[in-house]
């Protein structure tokens, strides 16, 4: 029972960071209908940024979110304006390829700059944990989960309460209609991609103290992000948050009860089942 509780809790905590990655991807897909294959690589850039801030300036990784988020937001807006914008009406395979190329550029630039060695960002609390009712809970994961929850809440408020947020949601619902109603769709796309990159970068910062940092780490997370968004329904922010938790929990349960080698298979099988039987996601209304 304690093992069950422990893996449930650590799954939920990791799931929080996954949720952040998924929300970033789902925003971009919702607003632009583009599947961003470079999403994990953007997260990887965030990890390196955090690593540099920590090792060169000594800024705490969790604190560095305050720097990472705006910088990654700007990177996202830049990428959107310079590259993504040009293929919004292109064939889907070309959009996918463009983002794949972008991912290759990012991961290999990082490889030139930092070599492909694994970096470890070790803080004083990286491996510390505390105990609740007999289960030991990782301290950095708990902090990152709390930050994630705060950011998700803030984002939700932004999307629901502010004018810009509502315009973004309108664009995601129906691009053409939004345009007809006078929403600057191009600007919303820029903001959405910026937010997507910002969130991915933040996730990178939060995960940096507990994960290996290396240039190719992105592709693993790109795939996870796909799974998360499909589980929650492409374009749904709340769905992505729940999808993140589901993936986190099924990974940690799979690792405990099946084997750590098969845990990713569990995730992909769930993914396929959802695609087949609930293509709009676990929460979503039919979007097909």
């Amino acid at each position: 029972m304690t093992i069950f509780l422990q893996s449930l809790i650590s799954g939920i905590l990791v799931g929080g960071v996954y949720a952040l990655i998924g929300i970033g991807l789902t925003l971009v897909f919702g607003v632009m209908r583009i599947i961003n294959f470079a999403h994990g690589d953007i997260m990887m850039v965030g990890m390196y940024l955090t690593y540099m801030l920590f090792s060169m300036v000594g800024i705490d990784p969790f604190l560095s979110v305050l720097i990472t988020f705006p910088l990654m937001y700007l990177l996202g807006v830049f990428l959107q304006k310079v590259l993504i914008n040009r293929v919004l009406d292109a064939l889907p395979q070309n959009q996918i390829l463009l983002t794949i190329g972008l991912g290759l550029i990012m991961s290999n630039t990082m490889m030139l700059a930092f070599t492909s060695d694994y970096k470890i960002l070790s803080t004083t609390y990286s491996s510390s944990s505390f105990s609740v009712g007999g289960s030991s809970i990782s301290q950095p994961l708990t902090i990152s989960f709390l930050i994630t929850a705060a950011i998700t809440g803030g984002l939700y408020w932004f999307l629901v309460k502010t004018n810009t947020g509502q315009a973004i949601r309108a664009t995601a619902q129906d691009r053409e209609a939004a345009q007809l109603m006078g929403i600057n769709v191009k600007r919303m796309s820029g903001i959405a991609f910026g937010l997507g990159a910002g969130l991915a970068g933040t996730a990178g910062a939060l995960i940096a103290p507990t994960y290996y940092i290396f240039p190719q780490v992105g592709s693993v997370f790109t795939l996870k992000a796909f799974v998360i968004t499909v589980l929650g329904g492409m374009g749904s922010v709340v769905g992505a948050a729940i999808g993140g938790i589901i993936v986190g929990v099924s990974e940690s349960m799979g690792a405990v009860y099946i084997s750590s080698g098969w845990k990713d298979v569990v995730v992909y099988v769930i993914f396929l089942l959802v695609l087949l039987f609930k293509p709009a996601g676990l929460l979503g209304k039919s979007r097909m």
Binding site: A90, G101, L104, N108, M111, L112, F226, V265, L276
Partner: protein, 358 residues
């Protein structure tokens, strides 16, 4: 569009045929005059890329189903052939049929799952299935030797009657096999384009609902497209495995490989017979030149860059590592500026030159 007009024997068609025959004849003669193993190696890689690109083209280019999971077929073909050869002493020219059979079973399962989905959902499902295959090959280590991979050491001598055809000790037999397989895939693509299948595939690509209303059984034809594509990809995988002599999940079943297969086709020109050939001709030499540092040395030799200068040292140290980076930049540039691939770009350029002359 290619339609029945091109199948009638016009003069230009005859010229094309003659040029093609000379080219093919020349390619078959290459090993007589070229003995450098490295040169043959590059040619073999070009053939391999061509086979992979053409195979994907049938499903992705003609039928419009953008699979980013073709490593599944490549890997299953490669693994089956190598495992039969190493563990059961089955020669690869027989094992490859088992590989194709295995791949067809896999393709049928994948098709029945993924073809219910459209657009981006299909892409994602194809990735997920290929990843499941990779993880399974890694985890079933009793069966596949897991992440360690399998070395292929037991290639038997190929004998017909009493006559030893080849012992596979040089690159020459692989050159001929690669060339033949590349020609086979091109021929299959040509045959598809000039048949009912080609019309139905392209109709599905252009508008699935319209195609459905015109009497096209969508799941049937998608699965036919997949079966052809997967079979040819399995051939590529088997060929690769025997040539390189090693398979492991992270090379023959990886997402990187799936992406690379798509790249050859899209950079060359999607949905055209010769696009993947152009893609292979462009990508293989480029990535080999970068990998082997030939470009940096060329710059030094030609005197453009001084090897002792700061730029020179930087190039020497980094260019070899940068080949994937340059690959990525190339992909982005092609998508932005040549959305129809190199072949489409060259055709447009040719048309413009012709207009200029007239």
């Amino acid at each position: 569009m290619a339609s029945a007009t091109t199948s009638r024997f016009s003069r230009s068609a005859l010229i094309k045929l003659a040029v093609g025959l000379v080219l093919v004849g020349g390619l078959f003669a290459v090993p007589r005059y070229v003995s450098s193993p490295y040169a043959l190696h590059i040619m073999i890689l070009i053939f391999l890329s061509t086979i992979m690109g053409e195979s994907w083209n049938i499903l992705g280019g003609y039928t419009g189903q953008y699979s980013v999971g073709h490593a599944a077929y490549f890997g299953v073909g490669a693994y089956t052939t190598v495992m039969l050869m190493q563990f059961r002493q089955v020669p690869p020219w027989i094992g490859v049929w088992a590989g194709i059979a295995a791949v067809l079973v896999v393709a049928l399962i994948i098709g029945s799952i993924c073809f219910r989905l459209r657009g981006p959902y299909f892409v994602l499902a194809s990735i997920a299935v290929a990843e499941i295959m990779r993880l399974s090959a890694t985890n079933l280590d009793k069966f596949t030797k897991g992440a360690e991979g399998i070395l292929a050491t037991e290639i038997p001598v190929f004998i017909i009657g009493e006559h030893v055809v080849t012992d596979f000790l040089t690159k020459v037999p692989f050159y001929y096999i690669g060339l033949s397989l590349a020609l086979l895939t091109i021929a299959v693509t040509w045959a598809v384009q000039h048949s009912k299948l080609g019309y139905y595939f392209q109709a599905i690509r252009e508008d699935q609902d319209a195609a459905h209303s015109l009497g096209i059984n969508i799941p049937l034809y998608k699965n036919i497209g997949l079966a052809i594509s997967a079979t040819l990809t399995a051939l590529a995988g088997s060929f690769y495995a025997i040539y390189v002599g090693f398979v492991d999940p992270s090379t023959v079943l990886s997402l990187d490989l799936s992406v690379q297969i798509v790249l050859v086709c899209i950079i060359g020109g999607i949905g055209t017979i010769y696009g993947p050939v152009v893609g292979a001709l462009a990508l293989v030499p480029l990535s080999e030149a970068l990998r082997s540092n030939a470009i940096a040395e060329g710059l030094f030799k030609s005197g453009i860059v001084d090897p002792a200068s700061a730029t020179g040292t930087f190039l020497k140290e980094n260019l070899a590592h940068a080949h994937v980076l340059i690959y990525g930049i190339l992909v982005v540039l092609v998508i932005l500026f040549m959305p129809e691939g190199l072949l489409g770009f060259l055709r447009k350029l040719g048309a413009r030159l012709k207009q200029g002359r007239a």
